[in-house]
């Protein structure tokens, strides 16, 4: 039982929670968002801490979940709070009923209030249909404006809900509002820094949202450390370099293509499945054609297993854009 390490993690979580509470007390939106970020980090630390104890007692496991859930409730992230609450519902069965009720006496009413308020807000949405089978990005531009308004309403009330910042990113990106898309994506990533999807997409999004030098700086943070990084991150890094090569001065292109090729191969080396593997293979073939000074054709999409993308392509479509769109849609 690593009690010393457990205590250190709990100590760290306590400091994060106290700082976060001070941020909530301030009340200004930027301080509240920072409080949400701190609460999210504290939740992760609390859940990691209990994993350090061999055969932790049921009460200790339940306590860790209660702390994590409270962090997500106070961190204004009802979806994440709900996921942890599901674990609480299971774990409490292993604890004496009276003790469990007492342990939950503070959190339970707060969770229920938060859940009711969130459900009420979602019930008013018209353009966004959250949940399985629901649609984040309406196909028509006029509906996207309504969706953007609705998502803004949700993120105003729940600035800690990373999934809603992701929705804001998707809608803004589809609407061509690049800076807003970037802002929303960065918010999502700050709340969930371990989320590979947010991290990966930011590498491509930087190339159209930021000035070239800033985009290059963002990608530079990943150079030399892509081995073992999530395949999605490798893919988006590669496509980011391809885009910067296309839009940038000719003298830097070969170097970018070589870095992009290395990244695509680093992603493939991890043997990803499904669409990620196909997109990585298509990216590899695309870059190889550039380096061979050959014009890429639809054939590379067929070779990569992206026949469904190839059959929808028009003769004038840019192959790099097709590969990029395929990767974005899969993200």
């Amino acid at each position: 039982m690593s009690l010393g390490l457990y205590e250190k993690q709990r100590q760290m979580a306590g400091g994060l929670k106290m700082r976060a509470t001070a941020g909530l007390a301030d009340g200004r939106s930027e301080h509240v968002f920072e409080a949400c970020v701190l609460f999210h980090e504290a939740a992760r630390v609390e859940q990691r801490a209990v994993g350090l104890i061999d055969a932790a007692p049921a009460e200790t496991r339940l306590a860790a979940l209660i702390e994590a859930c409270a962090c997500y409730v106070d961190g204004l992230d009802p979806p994440m709070a709900g996921q942890v609450w599901a674990q609480i519902v299971r774990e409490r069965e292993r604890v004496d009923a009276e003790v469990a009720t007492s342990m939950l006496s503070r959190l339970e009413p707060r969770y229920e209030r938060s859940h009711r308020a969130y459900a009420k807000l979602l019930s008013k949405l018209v353009f966004i249909r959250p949940g399985p089978g629901g649609s984040l990005v309406p196909p028509h531009a006029r509906d996207r404006r309504g969706a953007a308004r609705e998502v803004a309403e949700v993120t105003d009330s729940y600035p800690g809900a990373a999934i809603w910042w992701w929705a804001a990113y998707r809608i803004a990106e589809a609407s061509g509002r690049n800076m807003h898309a970037w802002y929303a994506l960065r918010r999502a990533h700050r709340l969930e820094p371990d989320n590979a999807r947010f991290e990966a997409v930011s590498l491509l999004a930087a190339t159209w949202a930021l000035a070239p030098a800033a985009a290059d700086e963002h990608l530079a943070g990943y150079r030399g450390r892509l081995d073992g990084t999530a395949p999605e991150v490798c893919l988006m890094y590669a496509l980011g370099e391809v885009r910067l090569a296309r839009d940038g001065p000719p003298q830097g292109r070969v170097e970018r293509w070589e870095r992009a090729l290395q990244a695509a191969r680093a992603g493939l080396a991890q043997h990803p499945g499904g669409t990620t593997r196909k997109n990585l293979r298509a990216t590899e073939l695309l870059i190889q054609s550039y380096l061979d000074d050959e014009k890429p054709t639809l054939e590379l999409l067929y070779l990569a297993g992206l026949a469904d993308v190839a059959v929808r392509a028009r003769p004038t479509d840019d192959i790099a854009d097709l590969v990029t769109t395929s990767a974005k849609e899969a993200a």
Partner: protein, 197 residues
């Protein structure tokens, strides 16, 4: 009634500065209150302390050296001004943090040598000395802006439909030791009571 003077900057010695720092501005904003009559130090809290079955009446006399505190907490003066006057400041969290600050003071005075090592958000006790699984030791805190001693006894003992903190703590088999630390801003008063063992 025993006088217990305490200068707030001493908390940075008696307790973990990382936990204490965020409670300082809320204490400075909350304790003086709104009435002009009682807004100068020392701020006196009649404090009823019960331990080992024995109850003692104290008078906590809280003071502070603003300049020394400002050295430990950057931006303190502006922060206090903001918490007192800004409409967006969240009153319930200011009261909550001030209660933690006063609890740190009471722990330092009445349990000398005990150091809070972490803070719970989701369940009692709020302030923990010891996180050993199923042997938790700490202090459960609450604050109220108004209501005096009656408001604090309701928190402790409960009322219709609300079991109260003391009974809730007694059934917790994962807690080896816990005290209640309850504070009211107007009328200023405090209760510090050992509940377990």
């Amino acid at each position: 009634m025993t006088s217990l003077p305490y200068s707030l900057e001493q908390l940075f010695v008696d307790q973990d500065p990382d936990l204490v720092a965020d409670t300082i501005a809320p204490v400075l904003a909350w304790v003086p209150g709104r009435s002009k009559k009682k807004r100068s130090p020392p701020y006196v809290f009649p404090l009823e302390h019960t331990a080992a079955g024995h109850t003692t009446a104290h008078a906590l006399e809280l003071t502070w050296d603003r300049a020394k505190l400002a050295q430990r907490v950057p931006g303190l003066v502006a922060h206090v001004r903001r918490l007192r006057s800004a409409r967006s400041a969240q009153r319930e969290h200011v009261t909550e943090l001030a209660a933690y600050g006063l609890s740190f003071v009471a722990i330092s005075l009445l349990m000398p040598g005990r150091r809070v090592m972490t803070y719970n958000r989701g369940m009692a006790p709020d302030l923990l000395f010891d996180t050993t699984p199923n042997e938790l030791r700490g202090v459960e805190t609450a604050g109220r802006a108004t209501g005096g001693r009656r408001a604090l006894t309701l928190i402790r003992d409960g009322s219709a439909g609300d079991p109260g903190k003391r009974p809730q703590l007694l059934v917790r088999t994962d807690i080896a030791e816990v005290s209640l630390s309850l504070w009211c801003g107007s009328a200023r008063t405090g209760i510090m009571e050992q509940v377990k063992p």
